[in-house]
């Protein structure tokens, strides 16, 4: 059976796990304008943007021979919990013969699905495949963090992105051992000439997981911000998200617990999606002296509408500016760039007034 999966963030990790278990993987293409068009055509008009992108992405993978799609489910209240079933129904209506493996957050279900993916392999095989996958993921996220610090200080604009694409290529080709991959990537990053005197602005990025993590969907928001002289920290990293979905709160990384604690004041319960994390993270970024917060949401995302209602007040109370970008197939690059530039000017203006200057230069 040829297996495929949604395209989000470091996709090669999923592939590495599935291939270790002996499945033939159809690696999904990076979403392009065409993918989005294809998805928009077949998805409901008011479905949120990730559903449309995934719709297009699945259709492209099916074209290339995918027979099984592995994805996550959910029990609400966010719409994402029904994506799998809706995609399944729409694809059936389009006459596509494809099977869905949907990971629902219940042990019985997870066990059943894991059993299916495991096939004839022994259980420890699944465990070690997942452990290696997570190790790969952690390496990727560490490199990503280093890369940002370099990109914001690079002397020749574009050099880091070039090197980074090479690194992604290395990860995707999956021909090197873990150690080699690590040293090769670090070498590539170290070879970039940087201006060490630059003190970048610190910007937090919050919002819905898909538009936050996937640069091809959020128009390379992080790269844009780096090029404007800001280092970006997201409220969600894939590793932390996996911990969040798999572990009880007290076993999660410290950062996750801080965010939940700080969200209590604004939203006292989980209302679905990442609204609570977004609000908590915004408060957390403000407390840590960040210069601003960029909020990304798919157009009409229900939980994030609650976030964007609360965010202006957090900004007012803490003096940290915030901006919301609502992203869908209509979002234009020029619009995003202009608004970002204005936002960076605003943050710089705050600095020149001596406002919160101390906290910036202390680093």
């Amino acid at each position: 059976m040829k297996v495929s999966f949604p395209f989000m963030g470091p996709t090669f990790v999923y592939r590495s796990v599935l291939e270790r278990l002996g499945h033939e993987v159809i690696f999904p293409n990076r979403p392009t304008k065409k993918t989005i068009e294809l998805g928009t055509l077949n998805a409901p008009e008011f479905a949120c943007f990730p559903l449309k992108v995934l719709m297009g992405s699945y259709l492209e993978s099916i074209e290339r021979g995918a027979q099984v799609i592995v994805t996550s489910g959910g029990v609400g209240p966010c719409r994402a919990g029904w994506y799998g079933h809706l995609h399944n129904r729409i694809l059936a209506d389009l006459g596509k013969d494809v099977e869905f493996i949907i990971f629902e957050p219940s042990w019985a279900q997870v066990k059943k699905q894991a059993e299916y993916l495991r096939g004839r392999n022994p259980w420890w095989h699944l465990v070690s495949a997942m452990r290696d996958g997570i190790r790969l993921l952690r390496l990727y996220e560490e490199l990503e963090h280093d890369m940002q610090e370099i990109r914001v200080r690079e002397i020749n604009r574009g050099q880091t992105t070039e090197a980074w694409n090479k690194i992604i290529e290395l990860f995707t080709r999956d021909s090197l051992s873990y150690i080699k991959l690590k040293t090769k990537s670090k070498e590539l990053l170290a070879s970039i000439p940087v201006d060490k005197d630059i003190i970048p602005l610190k910007v937090g990025m919050i919002g819905e997981i898909y538009v936050l993590m996937e640069p091809s969907v959020n128009m390379g928001m992080e790269e844009r911000l780096n090029n404007l002289g800001c280092v970006v920290e997201r409220s969600i990293y894939l590793y932390e998200w996996l911990c969040e979905t798999a572990l009880p709160l007290w076993l999660q990384p410290q950062n996750n617990r801080d965010i939940i604690a700080k969200s209590k004041r604004h939203i006292p319960l989980c209302i679905g999606g990442h609204a609570r994390q977004s609000v908590g993270a915004a408060q957390n970024f403000a407390d840590r002296g960040f210069n601003g917060v960029v909020h990304l949401m798919p157009f009409a995302c229900t939980p994030e509408i609650v976030t964007s209602s609360i965010l202006p007040n957090i900004a007012r109370q803490t003096g940290m500016p915030a901006i919301t970008f609502s992203i869908d197939e209509q979002t234009a690059e020029a619009n995003v760039q202009t608004r970002l530039e204005a936002f960076v000017d605003l943050m710089l203006g705050n600095l020149q007034e001596g406002y919160r200057r101390e906290s910036i230069y202390r680093n």
Binding site: P44, C48, I271, T302, V306, I310
Partner: protein, 340 residues
């Protein structure tokens, strides 16, 4: 003390119970009245641009009440769940949080934001009711009695709805002090249309332009979701791989599926608001269900810019299509008979 209840969102479903509860507590209950252009403008001025229209309208209702001097307390409940494994739309679950941030004026009044969170039976709400009573200075005993009465009022309203009264007519009866009566309007023998949509979209006369009565004036027999018992639907409609985890959305989807499957309607209209999250899924599923059983399906999407002429034209066109279809089917059946 005067309690103000904003006339938006689940007011259209639970007002009979809420009104009974606060009346029993000895409070004076006022509502913000029907939605007007002014209220919509108030709401759009405060809420996030891409929030759905019912949220904007609700914000407008809250603001209009918060600005009134003769109001002491505002009732903005947080709807979490009414049964286990079901939720409400994230916007309803975070409603008081949103309102506190977009309409800070509410904090000048007693802001009642009880958590409506039921896992198994409605009595789990008793402590919440006592808390609400306590914040209004009423004894626990009285609150408990009022709560039981409110449950009775709710059950009565459900009985009336099941007998064919729309939720809109129910609320009208209460507001005009008319005695509740069940009257089935229209003749089911003519043309039957299912009108599915959340109570706050369908029965807000300003938003939906009174779609139910418009259809009735055209001689259509209308069935809505609240006329079908939810527990019965859960037993009858089983083909979905998992529950749609929003209570009312699941109800509507099952009602739609039930209606088209049993041929209980000649056409289906889904009334939804611009940017409604759950309805993006409900709408598509209804569309696919209707397609499966070859029933014409119409999406009526409303927002603050909807014009009455536009809505009426589309309704008339849809009803014409249904009539044509019926005549075609009848003549086809007739010709079959003559051939034999």
């Amino acid at each position: 003390m005067r309690i103000a209840i904003p006339a938006g969102l689940l007011y259209y479903f639970y007002f009979p119970a809420w009104q009974c509860f606060f009346k029993e507590l000895g409070m004076d209950v006022v509502t913000s009245g029907p939605t007007t252009k002014h209220i919509v403008d108030l709401g759009t001025s405060r809420s996030v641009a891409e929030a759905c229209i019912p949220i904007k309208v609700y914000t407008g209702h809250v603001l209009s009440l918060a600005l009134r001097k003769d109001v002491d307390a505002l009732f903005v409940p947080r709807f979490c769940s009414i049964e286990s494994k079901f939720h409400f739309c994230p916007k309803l679950m975070g409603l008081p949080d949103m309102i506190r941030n977009t309409v800070p004026e509410v904090l000048n009044k007693t802001f009642l934001e009880p958590w409506i969170k039921i896992e198994h039976k409605v009595n789990e709400l008793m402590p919440t009711a006592v808390l609400v009573g306590a914040s209004l200075g009423v004894s626990a005993k009285m609150s408990r009695a009022a709560f039981s009465k409110a449950i009775d009022a709710y059950n009565d309203s459900r009985q009336l709805a099941l007998s064919g009264l729309t939720q809109g007519e129910l609320i009208d009866n209460i507001n005009h002090g008319r005695s509740p009566q069940s009257t089935v309007s229209g003749d089911p023998g003519v043309l039957r249309v299912g009108v599915l949509g959340y109570a706050y979209n369908v029965y807000d006369r300003f938003l939906s332009m009174d779609i139910v009565n418009k259809l009735r004036e055209m001689g259509v027999f209308v069935t809505t979701f609240e006329m079908i018992d939810y527990d019965m639907l859960r037993k009858l409609v089983k083909e979905f791989p998992k529950n749609l985890f929003w209570s009312f959305s699941d109800w509507i989807l099952r009602a739609g599926s039930h209606l088209v499957k049993n041929g209980a309607v000649d056409g289906l209209i889904h009334v939804t608001s611009f940017g409604c999250g759950p309805d993006a899924i409900v709408g598509k599923m209804l569309d696919l269900e209707a397609k499966k059983y070859d029933i014409p399906y119409l999406t009526m999407r409303i927002d603050e810019h909807t014009g009455e002429a536009h809505l009426l034209t589309r309704l008339e066109a849809f009803v014409d299509v249904l009539r044509e279809r019926l005549i075609r089917v009848e003549t086809a059946a007739g010709s079959e008979v003559t051939e034999q």
